[in-house]
């Protein structure tokens, strides 16, 4: 053969590999964080100025039931800084947030931070517990369905679809009726004390909250795994004598994580939003319930704060997901696609 010089084939004709993977990862991370900040800035604009589009004068609301003396109206307006031009109000608001001051609640007559700090833990615990249910049950159902073609797959798919079609408030009522009223295993109301009592109180709400998302997660896991199962590298792994479990964990599940993670990022924000309904049903004093009340009472400072928190959680979760993706699939960091 006349091709001995080919013993080591030449590198790919892409001389663009001089940057080390680590630098490109850092560049990627910085870019993501930059996008995050810009997104938050625009979100804050929308959140703040949408108040001016909505009908109703908050100062007038405060004086509901009393004769609105013009002096009192002016007094209130001044006290809450409502007389200043919108831009100035916005700057004061954003400046305050950066210092941890979210303004004053109109109804509670205390700082928004205090109101929120009382309520936030319940919601976060609820969302966290729901997230655990979603991850454990959703992943398990998806994996099981994917690995057991035929009867099991169909059964899980149908169950999960049916469960996912139930709106949270119906699920909440059904779960309460069965487990709280009939069986008496779980309490039906209130958020309980700290610790285990809280967990016990939150189990039903978290299940009601997570049901739709469990279905969603199971479906994404199933289809993502199914896609990986047909890949040739899975067959190669099998042909090398790896056990089925090794093949599934190392080559199927690991590769299927990307889409699952992307969906999770979106789910987290969805949890915070949906929590309003579930909190209302189970009488939990979380921020979801607070949001509903505050909108009702035109307590715009609280509404703005909550919306901002939800938006931040959403953007943050997705940024984190984006940052984890290149660790799961190194091709993303390199900016090349699979080929």
């Amino acid at each position: 053969m006349a091709v001995t010089e080919l013993a080591a084939p030449p590198a790919r004709p892409t001389p663009g590999r001089k940057k080390s993977p680590a630098t490109s990862l850092i560049v990627l991370a910085l870019r993501k964080v930059g996008t995050l900040l810009i997104t938050l800035f625009f979100a804050s604009l929308v959140v703040f100025f949408s108040r001016f589009v909505l009908p109703g004068d908050p100062a007038r609301f405060l004086l509901r039931g009393r004769s609105p003396k013009p002096e009192a109206l002016v007094e209130i307006t001044k006290q809450f800084g409502l007389d200043k031009p919108p831009i100035e109000q916005y700057l004061t608001w954003v400046g305050g947030i950066l210092h941890g001051d979210w303004g004053r609640s109109l109804t509670y007559r205390q700082s928004v931070s205090d109101v929120l700090l009382n309520r936030l833990p319940v919601t976060l615990e609820l969302a966290a517990l729901a997230a655990v249910f979603i991850t454990v049950l959703g992943l398990a159902a998806g994996i099981l369905a994917s690995l057991n073609k035929g009867g099991w797959d169909r059964f899980i798919l149908i169950t999960v679809t049916a469960a996912g079609a139930i709106p949270p408030f119906v699920a909440a009522i059904a779960l309460t009726a069965l487990f709280a009223v009939q069986l008496g295993w779980f309490p039906s109301f209130g958020s309980g004390d700290e610790g285990l009592g809280r967990l016990w109180h939150l189990t039903l709400p978290a299940l009601a909250l997570g049901l739709t998302f469990i279905a969603f997660m199971a479906r994404v896991t199933r289809s993502s795994m199914n896609e990986q199962l047909t890949r040739e590298h899975v067959e190669v792994a099998t042909s090398r004598g790896l056990k089925r479990s090794s093949v599934v964990f190392r080559h199927v599940l690991r590769n299927a994580l990307g889409p699952i993670l992307t969906v999770s990022g979106v789910l987290i924000a969805g949890l915070l939003v949906s929590s309003a309904i579930v909190e209302q049903t189970f009488g939990l004093t979380g921020i979801g319930q607070l949001l509903v009340q505050s909108i009702d009472r035109l307590d715009f400072a609280v509404v703005q704060a909550i919306v901002m928190i939800v938006v931040t959680a959403f953007v943050l979760a997705n940024t984190i997901v984006d940052l984890i993706q290149p660790l799961i699939d190194p091709r993303i960091a390199a900016g090349t696609e699979s080929r």
Binding site: A7, V236, S239
Partner: protein
């Protein structure tokens, strides 16, 4: 001692459908290299996978597939694991698909060692590095940390081979291990496989659709067609004096460089060249910010009625050139003139594009991707007539039907969607679509490399015919010198974006002046017996 691999009367089918394999019998002895030749759909991959007990889900089997006496059709899972771990290994067609893209090369190599050979991570690492050295890779310690996407196809295939050899198999199964690679890379891999097979005394079953390749590596050949062995015997006998009609057809269709059959260039009569390219350059910016020169300083011209072959390996810039000619890419520098009209150096406007399309049409490599899956073929071609010839609906349909029949698509196919057609039929439709615009220049971008040899031969014949009848000018982009030698009077060899040699095809092929061209020619597989003669 029982035979290494012995397949007897092996049949495979899915319930309710025809047999995919029927009564296949073959055997491989220790230290012997055997080729299994067949076109796509012949069942060669199924046969090879059966040797490892990899059967498609829900398939029904009969007969036996024995490796060292173990029948994989009935063996329990534990025995199959043992077989895959200690006796037989497989090298797959596409290393980029076959090696998990999210794990490092090191992980791929060491996982079997650590998982069940009981080696420590350090021992496994050392073994893997040694193995990588042995398959001819350099900087092996760095390689261990790299991910598959950072390696070229040829390097990855060596990694895959290293992975298979790590288990010191007695039987090496190769499923078209070089089909996804360039010719020169292929030559290196084939050399490596032969070396290792002989050094280790392994039995090898080598699947390929390329008779030349089979002859260059194997002593015995089985020819498989539609799940049946139609011929077997010594490679030389099968090649030189085939018995079965199918084998004869296959041998006839296998492209060969035949210098006396190279078509002649049209007589130079001083007319304006149809295509004139002057100092054409194209650069791409890579994601990392660096610049890649895809094509540098290309100058050539093509007279009306001429035929030019553009050859080179992947990444040589040949497809970029084709795409620039049909204005899918815009040149960064240089001049491109068609029929004497110099093209503006910017992306074309819709009207200009339509005008250009009347002169120049392209046929792409993969007819599975280049036809709209939802449009029936008759309409697809008729649409071109309506657009470019301004024909009415009824007239366009008539013209389309005439043209489709001309390229060998019968009336019963006019209402089929591309999905219902075979690869060769789809490529015929793609050619008809291009011809409907009545172009002067037809650009074929690897237009036959996704097709089986016998289908390729038919499509080449069609192109040849059309050229003679319609006076088409051809620009054929390919990696296959044999295809060029048959179709193109002139040749242009590209390497890393530079033209390294150009001129008459016959002259270049018989006396290549450039080292790279020589290497391309030498890389074509040569039959074992020819080599022994030389």
């Amino acid at each position: 001692m029982s035979k290494l691999l012995e397949i007897e009367q092996f049949s495979l089918h899915f319930p309710g459908r025809g047999a995919l394999l029927s009564d296949v019998s073959l055997h491989v002895d220790d230290g012997e290299a055997v080729a299994l030749v067949g076109e796509s759909g012949s069942g060669k991959s199924l046969t090879t996978r059966a040797a490892l007990g990899l059967f498609p889900e829900f398939s029904r089997l009969s007969g036996s597939v024995k490796v060292r006496g173990l029948d994989t059709t009935s063996a329990p899972a534990a025995k199959l694991l043992e077989l895959r771990r200690n006796h037989a290994s497989m090298i797959f067609q596409d290393p980029r698909a076959g090696i998990n893209p999210v794990r490092t090369v090191g992980d791929f190599l060491t996982e079997t060692l650590v998982r069940w050979r009981g080696l420590s991570r350090e021992e496994a690492y050392a073994r893997a590095v040694t193995q990588l050295d042995q398959v001819g890779l350099r900087r092996t310690k760095d390689l261990m940390r790299q991910y598959p996407h950072q390696l070229s196809g040829g390097m990855l295939q060596r990694v895959m081979i290293a992975g298979a050899l790590l288990d010191s198999p007695e039987l090496l199964l190769c499923d078209e291990p070089t089909t996804a690679l360039d010719v020169t890379t292929q030559a290196g891999i084939v050399e490596l496989l032969r070396e290792q097979q002989q050094a280790r005394g392994m039995g090898m079953l080598f699947i390929t659709h390329d008779l030349n390749l089979a002859a260059s590596l194997c002593d015995r050949v089985y020819v498989l067609r539609k799940g049946e062995v139609v011929e077997h015997g010594g490679a030389r006998e099968v090649f030189m004096s085939p018995h079965a009609d199918y084998t004869r057809q296959l041998v006839g269709a296998t492209p060969r460089i035949e210098i006396d059959k190279v078509p002649a260039a049209p007589a130079a009569d001083g007319t304006v060249p149809l295509l004139a390219v002057k100092r054409l350059c194209k650069r791409y910016e890579l994601p990392s910010g660096e610049e890649l020169t895809a094509l540098n300083d290309a100058t050539f011209s093509l007279a009306p009625g001429g035929s030019l072959g553009v050859v080179g390996e992947s990444g040589s810039g040949k497809s970029t050139l084709a795409r620039m000619i049909v204005a899918l890419e815009t040149a960064d520098e240089g001049e491109l003139a068609i029929n004497g009209r110099v093209r503006a150096p910017r992306p074309l406007r819709a009207a200009e594009r339509k005008l250009l399309a009347k002169d120049v049409q392209i046929v792409f490599q993969d007819p599975y991707l280049s036809l709209d899956p939802r449009i029936v073929v008759g309409k697809a071609v008729a649409d071109v007539f309506r657009l470019h010839q301004g024909q009415g609906r009824a007239e366009a349909v008539k013209s389309a039907e005439k043209l489709l029949e001309r390229v060998g698509i019968g009336p019963e196919r006019f209402d089929s969607k591309p999905r219902a057609l075979s690869g060769g039929q789809r490529q015929r439709v793609a050619i008809a679509k291009a011809l409907a615009a009545r172009p002067k220049l037809l650009v074929l971008d690897e237009a036959t490399s996704a097709l089986d040899v016998s289908v390729q031969a038919q499509v080449l014949e069609l192109v040849e015919e059309l050229r003679e009848q319609l006076g088409l000018t051809l620009l054929f982009v390919t990696h296959d010198l044999a295809v060029v030698s048959r179709l193109c009077a002139e040749l242009l060899v590209l390497q890393h974006g530079e033209i390294v040699e150009q001129g008459s095809t016959a002259k270049i092929l018989s006396a290549p002046a450039n080292a790279y061209t020589r290497m391309l020619i030498d890389s074509r597989p040569r039959a074992l017996w020819e080599e022994q003669l030389a």
